[in-house]
Subunit: 286 residues, 2 copies
């Protein structure tokens, strides 16, 4: 099945389910709340009584308020080899906040002048957790995956490099589009090798395959659940393949007017336009 | 004023306020919810009608479910000088989760055998945010501080050192006691130089003064609010002074039976006993 979260005309959000080629409303506020409740694994839950097809008013991150967003760096094998690094023994993990998320088609407002911000792209496969996981073994972790979505871990490199810890460059409000839909884990498997790409103004900058992960989704959830509890609606980002702007020679960064398309075969496409820094605007909100 | 969060006999939590030497119930679930509502800055809010003194059933972190916990490393000037490091230009920031928090008197269950875990102490001054802060200037940030509490950023060094990012060593569930109380910012000012100490089995291991911070509370909130929105109940930890176990020669780490006391003059005292690893126990929950 496929789920999405839309913004409604009263300013709230609502989870929807795709059935028979049409989107139907659910009673959940977002896909995170949906997968925290009962019945979401069965299409039958959404057809009695049959809801009306709905027209979305606006877009929202597929999960709007996860308690945890945990991201893995250095995870595509081909990119690690290309950079001459050894294969890592442990996943490199960092966190984002719910405020960091934005919609699949949201404009990405530069948080400062483009040349000083150094805004870069990072196409990523996102896992949405569908069960409580603590000290989970691989099988439990695998069964606890609700599904997959596309993310772009847009990174403010100038801030990321200020200190050894990356948080401040990775957690600017509304800089991680997450969507457009959640594809449930029974329908798609990253181990089958889904093509992941990032295009900037139509030019392919990143490409990789989701079967090239050093730490695959079940391994990541198993590892994370050793130190913290994962819950339905939590989000794990799995790293980015080669081709980021900062690794180019010379480095290339995003400017106002650029359009970034992030796509994973069989899951979906994010399309985000970079817009000018607005010194007077509060940058918060999606 | 002073606020605390207690666990009630129905398994929920409740914020309380200290008035005239006695603790009184409030209608808020925790101090985070309390400072997100109106009226908490005035004692008069809690005396009409006069509530009954209450007996706490159990302890809880002073804020139980912050949306954001942001921590600063390398922030005590004396410790930086002692280590021969230059004074940092920017704060080194990383995140924790609400699940990382625990009560001021909670047992700290070793997440594995003591010798492989390398559990270390880090006494810290905690800021609880009391306003929405985004692109805040110093004065706004200062006025947006609800108050201060004591924290210990217990760190699992073996995991922290696995990768360049510290998250996995800093975010083990229930390893950051936060409390015992929130002292409001009108009653105490870290710039006055409050003595901060950490004692292990009665022996002083860390000592410092809260006027020795490279990045003081208002500066940290100003800086953080440049990339993300801070909200009432969010928590910022301000770093630890010299004397952590990993810096000792030879390094010293915590073992079952150790008692760690973390104290800040005028704010309060945490007392946490280290207990044996329980392989069969889910480590989650305070």
């Amino acid at each position: 099945m496929r789920f999405r979260t839309v913004r409604t005309d009263d300013g709230a959000t609502r989870a929807e389910v795709r059935l028979g080629g049409e989107w139907y409303a659910t009673t959940a506020d977002d896909v995170g709340a949906l997968v925290a409740g009962p019945g979401w694994r069965s299409a039958a839950s959404f057809t009695k009584p049959i809801p009306e097809p709905t027209a979305a008013v606006g877009s929202a991150p597929v999960v709007t308020t996860p308690r945890k967003i945990i991201c893995c760096g250095h995870n595509y094998r081909a990119h690690i080899v290309e950079m001459g690094r050894p294969e890592p023994e442990f996943p490199t993990l960092f966190a984002k906040f719910a405020d960091t998320l934005t919609a699949w088609n949201a404009d990405m407002v530069l948080p400062g002048p483009a040349e000083s911000v150094m805004l870069d792209w990072e196409a990523e496969l996102a896992i949405v957790v569908g069960a409580v996981l603590r000290h989970a073994d691989r099988e439990t972790a695998r069964a606890g995956i609700a599904g997959y979505a596309v993310a772009n871990d847009f990174s403010v490199r100038s801030w990321q490099r200020r200190t050894p810890q990356w948080l401040q460059g990775k957690a600017f409000d509304a800089t991680t589009p997450l969507g457009p839909e959640l594809v449930t884990a029974d329908e798609i498997d990253p181990a089958d090798g889904l093509r992941i790409t990032c295009r900037v103004n139509g030019i392919e900058e990143q490409t990789g395959s989701t079967d090239d992960l050093v730490f695959d989704p079940a391994t990541l959830l198993t590892y994370i659940s050793e130190f913290t509890t994962l819950r339905p609606g939590d989000v794990v980002l799995t790293g980015t393949p080669g081709g980021v702007g900062i690794a180019a020679e010379p480095p290339r960064f995003l400017r106002a007017g650029d359009v970034v398309e992030t796509e994973i075969e069989g899951i979906g496409l994010l399309r985000n336009r970079i817009t000018e820094h607005e010194p007077s605007r509060s940058a918060y909100g999606w």
